[in-house]
Symmetry: C2
Subunit: 413 residues, 2 copies
């Protein structure tokens, strides 16, 4: 625990300053960091080359190499991300609720930072900067534990961040990076309740499950999306096809992509051929026995309905009504994003009331579940849990609150 | 796990109905339950007598016997509690945030129930009914695990609740009681992520720590209150004495009672004798060496500053300024309720900004941190964590939300 404890002490000390820092000072810090990353472009790209070479030497798949790789364009996106966060309103020390009691006490529910956020994440180095910027703007310190495959890139990025902070009004201790990739240190982070207020795992199902099973620090579960699209009997079939194509094919490897298509039995003969024609070139379909009677595709197994493919595969099932669709979704879904295409107000309401998910759509693509699309500006991920924050985790979701109570000597009767 | 799993399945099934139940049906159910408890008075009091006899046989302290005991007055209070909850506004399917994106999608952030709440609690049988009523009104199912010392009282209360539910529109399965007091079943509850959405421990520090250390289900930490009162140099000393007397002596064994008094060194000679005279008859004081030079009390140790006495003892310390007071509080406090008495606007602001606690008071008693006092009507406890809910946990804090998105065929570019 010593390694994490030492970093924890620095963070808890820095928290005192950052939690009450002005928006102006936080924005200056972000500007200085952007400059510093700009100044360190070459060094960062060189460090990334080392990671990529190591990845290739270890037979990393090209998909993973692609997630790991940085180039000037991707660095531009990272810098753009910082600028987006600079422009976002500061969520701290804002209140939507102020009330006065009979006895004259005035209570304000005031937004405050959480304190120290721990991020445990996989290969993509841009997370280092994105997560840091969101934490800083919301007044939170951060401890970052990236994967060993991205260690050199992450080190170079954190070095640039700290160089930027050194020329700013904010202490460089607000960010700590776990350079030692020994997995025991992740366990130490997950038990460091004294120093870390919230742990956010960003990565695959195994990482998330490991964090949930082992953390005594509260966690924010993000990302897993086994999302469904249900085409009701009253659906406008043209809209339905467009939404299906968008939700399934616009980007394959994302958590808000559609993984299972549910079709009302009364329109199956009309809709399934339309859907098949629209996506068969790009997507492999796996269907239930009824689906297979209409379009010539592989048979889906129980496993297919459980799977978040993140790939060019779509499971298909014919259901007898909106209730069966809702039950299927509540059984197999991951509480992420679910959509119905319908012209029936009754079924739209029933679906939105009864489907248990962060975001429930009527006549729109599931791909909109995203901090930027929702208007939050940027996000730390999509929460699939019900506690603390649900759906896109923007700056506001990285805050807690305290009640400020102003009196004139009131005592309790 | 079988025992908890079976109950979990009943709860998850009942959740489907309860989560969309109308306010009217929930209120009818609460009325029927109040009637049923009224009808079962004798049986409940008899069961309670058995628990008290067992307690006495096991040499339970009189303080604990008192917490365990029911009589007609206490049953009246329980019934009054149900009536209070009936009158509270239903927090479910309400929205404070509805917005429309450029592309025409309208998003509503809609309050929904959490699902299934697990309560692990110690001796007081009234918690059985209080926690259940709040859960029901907020659309949540509940699984109750009380202490073995109250097993007969709790069984009789749950039996009455279920009898009431049977004559109501709500399924009796919405409440499950863990009759088997084997501690392994608590562990099973803490790992039952598939069936329980939130665990709330209600009891002493050991119980809370056990739950935090072992739960993979998200938890809501409540209750521990090492609360401070700081008398600043500019304080109105009469107000200060009144607030001290109220915060320390109005009720001793409660989490929002004051446990440590901090006094600015510039007023120590005036204030400490006043404070001493006002509470010495009822309260034992333990002070720092400077305090002891002014009033004749016992010396406080480091342990005294850490302790939540819940008793007729007060720790006292002289500090040199508001900064030292803030640092002391942030070091020893439990993030519950903290107060400053001051006429200085600067120091009031500094204290409220920098003290990290659910409720931070200026010129008022810490005893106001309470769901009913805050106007929430009733509460499930006082959260001392930063995640999900902070301070009094009323109906609103027992909800999550989902985003309802209404479109007309929108797809993502």
């Amino acid at each position: 625990m010593t390694y994490i404890k030492e970093k924890g002490k620095l963070l808890k000390h820095a928290e005192k300053q950052l939690s009450i820092a002005s928006t102006k000072d936080k924005n200056i810090a972000l500007e200085k960091i952007a400059q510093s990353i700009e100044n360190n472009r070459l060094e960062i790209l060189k460090a990334n080359e080392v990671d990529i070479k190591n990845g290739r030497d270890n037979n990393m798949s090209e998909a993973l190499i692609d997630r790991l790789a940085l180039d000037n364009n991707r660095l531009d996106s990272i810098l753009e991300g910082i600028n987006t966060v600079i422009k976002l309103p500061d969520p701290i020390w804002q209140s939507n609720k102020v009330w006065t009691l009979e006895n004259g006490l005035t209570i304000s529910q005031m937004a405050t930072p959480l304190g120290v956020i721990g991020i445990v994440y996989e290969s993509r180095p841009n997370v280092t900067v994105d997560a840091f910027s969101l934490a800083l703007k919301s007044g939170n310190c951060i401890i970052l534990r990236g994967s060993s495959s991205a260690i050199n890139s992450n080190k170079a990025l954190v070095k640039a961040i700290k160089e930027g902070l050194k020329t700013s009004p904010i202490s460089e201790d607000v960010v700590q990076f776990v350079e030692d990739t020994n997995r025991d240190l992740v366990l130490d982070m997950l038990k460091a309740n004294e120093y870390i207020d919230l742990i956010i795992p960003r990565g695959g199902r195994n990482l998330i499950q490991f964090v949930i099973n082992n953390s005594t620090v509260p966690t924010l579960q993000t990302g897993e999306g086994n999302c469904h699209l249900f085409i009701d009997e009253s659906a406008d079939l043209n809209k339905a096809v467009d939404i299906l194509v968008n939700a399934k094919t616009q980007r394959l490897g994302v958590c808000n992509a559609c993984e299972t298509l549910l079709v009302h039995e009364n329109i199956k003969d009309k809709f399934l051929p339309l859907a098949y024609d629209a996506i068969r070139d790009k997507i492999e379909l796996r269907g239930c026995t009824i689906t297979k009677e209409i379009i010539d595709i592989k048979l889906a197994t129980e496993e297919d309905y459980k799977e978040e493919y993140l790939d060019a595969i779509l499971a298909v099932k014919v259901v007898k009504d909106v209730e069966e669709a809702i039950n299927h979704i509540n059984k197999y879904g991951t509480k992420h994003s679910e959509a119905i295409v319908t012209e029936s107000l009754t079924n739209a309401n029933k679906f939105q009331r009864q489907v248990d998910a962060s975001s429930v759509y009527v006549n729109a693509s599931t791909r909109f579940t995203d901090g930027a699309e929702f208007g939050f500006g940027a996000e730390m991920g999509i929460s699939t849990q019900k506690i603390h924050a649900r759906g896109p985790v923007g700056l506001e979701q990285l805050t807690t609150y305290k009640y400020l109570v102003i009196g004139e000597g009131q005592i309790r009767e």
